[in-house]
Amino acid sequence: MTLMTRDRFLAIVTLAMVAILLVESGSIASKTSWQPYGSSLFPQILLVITGLLATAILLKSFFKPSKTSSPHRSFKEVVVEKQKIILLFIIFGIYALALSYLGYLISTLLFMVATQALLLGIDSRKKWLINLGTSFTIVPLVFVVFRYGLNIWLP
């Protein structure tokens, strides 16, 4: 069975993206008499080069498989291994969303408490003290520096 290695996955995703973007580049305004090369030429050159490089990576993965690549793991294994990273990205996504609804102070406090709880753990009083102490010091401090020191309004 042909394995979906890291390099093959990268190459296939890149080729798919290149194909979509090349089609999209067709809708860019075409060249005119005063603009003989058109606005789509530069991105098209880049897309073609990217496509060629991705093809080369794909071919190389069959002829010269990388020796440094880690052993094949199932999707579930990867998710378990990267659990904290995935959760951190999800929390950041929720934070970005919450900023527009809850504003800087509340959403950032929640973000800081949640991420530190994830990374530090919640199994001791000391960890909670560090978590809440850091969050309730730094978040208002940053707000004051930006709002009153730099005159920048945070959401």
């Binding site: 990217t50 990267k82 930006f146």
Partner: protein, 503 residues
């Protein structure tokens, strides 16, 4: 030149600007001494605080971080045996054994003084060669500039990791990102009907997203891998033996000079940076030493070579960034982004149009070196304590500051989404073995490459002109040569790996 430098010194000597240099240096040392935090991350964190400042003040703060950061990396290296930044790896070789022998103050003092001289010598090289190269490059026309940018990208892609194809692909992806939004002829490209995309991506959220997220997530992963191993405790009660350090330094003037020159030269080459300078000068110091067998056991020469060279890197790296508008490494690419966001386009014209700003960069580096040496000597025991801040606390704080920085740029929440999207992209690409430095360089140079290329074609519609103009042809030839050289290098490495596996 003298007048400009004096005017720049006057501009810098404003108490607020001096305070910014001190804050920058202090923050830089802190950023450098926390393992995994890096100088680049330090610059990205302080950058949002410069949005409302004038260019001289914002550069003073950022250059302070630079100077402090490159010297701060030695603290955790000497005290914990963990280099704070990649450019202080060889400091650990002799600094840590010296500290283990009960002389941490001597190791830190030698490193600080070597860093100080390294910075000063690199400033002298920058002041001498920066304007010369800028003057010469004033003759560059769009064809030459196109060739130069292509050469810089291929060189960095070839050198940044063992994966040449992925490095080149990262560079083209970086260049492509800059094509989103209105182009120079006001035609809309790749907006996919999203109004916010019509003005293109802001450079800062992209840079922060790609670099900071990948770095922070990697730190978290390393944390997971080292779970279970006990955190080192250190004795931060450090006393500095000033006389001994002065003796050590005065006996090794040649080593300081040689290592600083190496650092400046390596810094000026695209794609190299502090780590390469560090190893080259350490190796040379060992070769020139009367007691090479003592290296690795706490030799002052080892610390001097390492610290003088890595602190000389920024001065050297400023030469191509300021004179040609071509950043040589990741940190300089970020710094160039900072300059562009301040409305300053680095390049040969900068020396003519903004001489005081260029002078203020020299002056900030110069003052920063003095501030760095004073701060390190007085506060070193506190810095050693700071290097123990856990990543579990640091990562959320930095992520929050990244989000605030991205937002504060234009008071636009969309930029936080851009940051998030490029954060995911940067992390995924890193995990796929794609080097991120060419990607970031592509983002920084993309607009300029397109502008220069089409300006050339508007002046002369023939593509062949890129190859018939001698300098332009030379840069393209160098670009091809750098790719071929990287291919040969990779083959050599894989052959030696095969033969090692065979034995």
């Amino acid at each position: 030149m003298g007048d400009t430098f004096l005017q720049a010194l006057i501009a810098i000597s404003d108490p607020f600007t001096l305070l910014l240099i001190v804050i920058g240096v202090l923050f830089g040392v802190v950023a450098g001494c926390i393992p995994g935090f890096t100088v680049t991350m330090g610059i990205l964190v302080v950058f949002p605080f410069t949005f409302t400042m004038d260019p001289v003040s914002s550069l003073a703060l950022i250059i302070g971080v630079f100077v402090g950061g490159y010297s701060g990396g030695m603290i955790s290296g000497i005290m914990l045996g963990i280099p704070g930044t990649p450019s202080s790896i060889t400091t650990v070789y002799d600094g840590y054994p010296m500290a283990q022998k009960g002389e941490p103050g001597r190791a830190l003092g030698i490193g600080t003084i070597a860093s100080f001289f390294g910075t000063l010598i690199s400033i002298a090289i920058l002041v001498m060669f920066g304007p010369l190269i800028a003057k010469y490059s004033m003759n560059f026309r769009p064809w030459e500039l196109t060739g130069l940018i292509v050469f810089a990208l291929t060189l960095v892609a070839g050198l940044s990791s063992a994966a040449l194809l992925k490095g080149l692909m990262a560079a083209t992806i970086g260049l492509f990102i800059t094509t989103v939004g209105f182009d120079r002829n006001s035609n809309l490209r790749f907006d996919f009907g999203i109004t916010e995309l019509s003005s293109g991506f802001e450079m800062l959220p992209i840079l922060i997203g790609i670099f900071a997220f990948s770095q922070l997530m990697t730190n978290i992963e390393e944390l997971r891998n080292t779970q279970g191993t006990s955190r080192k405790s250190i004795d931060t009660n450090v006393s500095i033996p000033y006389r001994q350090i002065l003796r050590d330094i005065s006996q090794r003037k040649l080593n300081i000079f040689r290592s600083s020159i190496i650092g400046s030269l390596v810094g000026a080459l695209p794609g190299t940076g502090g780590t390469v300078a560090n190893f080259v000068s350490y190796d040379l110091a060992k070769q020139f030493s009367r007691h090479p067998e003592r290296f690795g056991e706490g030799m002052p020469d080892g610390i001097i070579a390492s610290e003088a060279s890595n602190s000389a890197v920024p001065g050297g790296a400023f030469i191509p960034t300021l004179a040609l508008g071509i950043p040589g490494d990741l940190t300089m690419a970020i710094l160039m982004g900072v300059l562009i966001l301040n409305g300053i386009q680095p390049g040969p014209l900068m020396f003519e149009q903004n001489p005081i700003l260029v002078g203020s960069i020299y002056a900030s580096l110069f003052i920063g070196a003095f501030v760095m040496v004073s701060c390190q000597m007085v506060l070193v025991r506190w810095f050693a304590k700071i290097s123990l801040i856990p990543q579990e606390v640091l990562v959320p704080v930095v992520l929050m500051l990244c989000a605030v920085g991205a937002y504060a740029l234009n008071n636009n929440l969309f930029d936080i989404w851009v940051l998030f999207a490029f954060g995911i992209l940067g992390y995924v690409l890193l995990k796929a073995g794609v080097p991120l430095t060419p990607l970031i360089l592509g983002v920084v140079l993309g607009k300029n490459l397109e502008n220069q290329m089409f300006r050339a074609l508007e002046l002369d519609s023939s593509w062949l002109t890129f190859l018939t103009r001698p300098l332009s042809a030379l840069f393209f030839a160098l670009a091809v040569a750098s790719v071929l050289l990287a291919v040969m290098q990779h083959r050599k490495i894989s052959r030696s790996q095969k033969s090692q596996a065979g034995t």
